[in-house]
């Protein structure tokens, strides 16, 4: 368990944090995730990568936790978590590099779009694995990623960076 925990705790934490937007909640949730894994270790059938299994459990717990909270509280927490010291995109474009603006725009995506982008780019999940974690068809995974990227381009354009698409 220590090996498994040591290897996966950081990325599961980051995945949950990006979903719930609150560090304390994310820490509580990953404790629950690994406790569930410990309880269900004999049920793991090896049909998917362990990290995929962990992320699917983490996602379920994160979404359940978010459903239990009033919307106002959730929105406030999420906003607090993504707020940083950077200027808004319009101002930032004048003095920040493109990378910083891109990161700012990534944080402005909807939870659904952030999730698919994180799973593909950061957690290196294949189309099939994203479908398994999120619980949607593979074709929908590709379409969701496409629209997440499209929305990102729109945010970039509003921030002064026109990538020529869409």
């Amino acid at each position: 368990m220590q090996v498994l925990f040591a290897r996966h705790q950081v990325r599961v934490y980051r995945f949950v944090l990006r979903l719930v937007g609150n560090q304390a909640s994310a820490e509580d949730l990953i404790s629950e995730v690994f406790l569930d894994v410990w309880r269900q270790a004999d049920r793991f059938e090896g049909r998917s990568a362990v990290s995929t299994w962990l992320l699917a459990i983490a996602r379920f717990k994160a979404l359940s936790s978010m459903r239990r909270k009033p919307d106002e509280e959730l929105d406030e927490e999420t906003a607090g978590a993504i707020a940083d010291t950077a200027d808004d995109p319009e101002v930032a474009v004048q003095k920040k590099d493109k990378g910083e603006i891109l990161r700012k725009c990534l944080q402005q995506l909807s939870s659904e779009h952030r999730e698919v982008i994180d799973l593909v780019y950061y957690h290196e999940k294949s189309v099939e694995e994203v479908a398994e974690i999120v619980g949607i068809p593979e074709a929908t995974v590709k379409t969701r990623m496409f629209y997440a990227r499209k929305r990102l381009s729109e945010l970039l354009k509003a921030a002064g960076i026109d990538r020529g698409w869409p």
């Binding site: 705790q9 950081v10 990161r103 990534l106 780019y121």
Partner: protein
Amino acid sequence: MMKTNENNAPDNLEALLPWHAAGTLNRRDADVVERALAQDAELARHFAMVREEMTETILLNEALGAPSARVMENLFKAIDKERKGARNEATSGLGAWLVELFSPRVLAFSASAAAIVILLQAGVITKLVMQDQGAIGSYETASAPTSTTRGIEVGSFALVRFAAQANVADLTRFLDSRGVTIVDGPRPGGPGGMYRVRIARTYLSPDELDRAVKEFQAAGSNLVSFAAPTE
């Protein structure tokens, strides 16, 4: 303009670009995308955008930090508590065996016993861990030089993630040919294993390092899925 079909859905090749950048396509699809990229300048431009997005997504996630020590404390307290409750009932099956094996109380009996249990845990859990690492052919070789090079901090460095489809022989050859050495990694929590590599044996200015990293990634585009300058 990114290609879409008449239903405004993404063209299949376009749609695959993010997974190609992350190195998570199967060999057949990766080859198809590679060929298309070589022939279609507009598609290649979109691929460059995708790689930019991936780089910033990685940097954004890496900046989120790590959970505090209380997570591990709480977890093993909870496990110990459940184990005590289940002790009388857990008499058979793998679940019961794992209950015993993972118990902090077992670990506390003595240093030598703990060492044996940890080894056993590693063995039991190997199936799980290796499943996750199975797609990463570079894991063993890439981490191997760490012990021989760690501590030599002279030079210029980059943070690198190798493509899932990279094989050991190609990776070794590529790194040798560039005179690049892995000095640390895989970083705990880094997805698929993040490695710190020495790009040059001398100090490079930020601009020089940026160029060297880009050149390194371009030269090994089929082996390196992510590269960024680091200290």
